[in-house]
């Protein structure tokens, strides 16, 4: 194998490992949904979803190696979304 082929294969290593982790987390979340855990079913499923999202953001969307400008831009939407959720929940969850 020449060096060019070797570096072409090399590209697959990190995304491939992330993909495997994502599929394992998928199996875990679907499997655990059938185990009666009460409220913790939802908590576990949402936590696993958050980990999967984080893996995609950091590795596939490259935030791990992005400049601060891009990281800030990526967080801007979530920042305003947090306001929307907190203020709406502050209304609905405190109604008598």
């Amino acid at each position: 194998m020449n060096t060019r082929q070797a570096s072409a294969l090399h590209i697959w290593i990190v995304p491939g490992a992330v993909w495997l982790a994502l599929l394992l987390l998928l199996a875990l979340t679907v499997g655990s949904a059938y185990v009666p855990l009460g409220i913790f079913n939802s908590i576990l499923n949402l936590t696993i979803a958050a980990i999967k999202v984080l893996l995609v953001l950091l590795f596939f969307m490259k935030l791990r190696s992005s400049s601060p400008l891009l990281r800030l831009a990526a967080m801007a939407g979530l920042f305003w979304l947090a306001f929307m959720f907190v203020l709406t929940a502050g209304d609905y969850l405190t109604r008598q």
């Binding site: 995304p15 998928l26 979340t29 979803a49 891009l70 939407g77 609905y92």
Partner: protein, 211 residues
């Protein structure tokens, strides 16, 4: 060296700055998308909190098999998309073309699977309105969210498939140079659509399975 690259566009002084600009622009667009889908998720959260039993009854009727299969397909499409962007940056033309094509094919496979699932849903009377098969009435709220959220997601994915197809064709016909900053921008959008589905999976398919 990048000064004379055919991929370099006005007003960028070099390709590195251009790539940063493209990614910044796509992230700014994705922030509006986060708020768009976020509004849907917020509505879901409030209604589920208001009608917890109805949401458990309604969510049990979704098809876990199709949901899980489609998640696996979409995660795999994100792998090929990520590799396509990396391969383009590293200068591997054939690998980029193959990975872009695979990404589009996985996207189409998702939409076809979704079509079969929609057909099953409709034949089980799960479209809100006259003839809706579940009780209590609040179960319709869950299914209204199901149709709107998966429908809007499918539209996003259809756009993604056409964009990936267009970019792959342009690269194949050598109308787009391999070092173009386009691939990175397309990849960011594709991964975002994947993220929306990762969040939809527990909200639509995994609620109330254990009880």
């Amino acid at each position: 060296m990048s000064e004379h690259s055919p991929a370099l566009r006005e007003p960028w002084p070099d390709l590195a700055r251009q790539r940063e600009g493209v990614a910044f622009g796509v992230w700014a667009f994705l922030a509006t998308e986060v708020l768009f889908f976020g509004g849907l998720f917020l509505g879901y959260a409030i209604y589920r909190n208001t009608f917890p039993e109805a949401f458990h009854i309604a969510a049990k009727e979704t098809d876990v098999f199709y949901g899980t299969l489609n998640t696996a397909i979409l995660l795999t499409s994100s792998l090929t998309m990520a590799v396509a962007a990396e391969a383009a940056e590293a200068g591997f033309r054939r690998m980029t073309l193959w990975c872009l094509s695979a990404t589009a094919v996985f996207g189409i496979a998702f939409l076809v699977t979704k079509g079969f699932e929609y057909h099953d849903d409709l034949s089980k009377g799960l479209f809100p309105g006259p003839g809706f098969s579940l009780h209590p009435p609040a179960t319709q709220l869950f299914w209204a969210f199901y149709w709107v959220a998966t429908g809007v997601h499918a539209i996003h994915l259809t756009i993604g498939v056409s964009v990936v197809g267009t970019v792959a064709t342009a690269l194949y016909r050598r109308r787009l140079p391999l070092e173009a900053s386009t691939f990175e921008g397309v990849a960011l959008y594709w991964h975002f659509v994947d993220i929306v589905w990762i969040i939809l999976l527990p909200l639509l398919y995994l609620v109330g399975r254990a009880s």
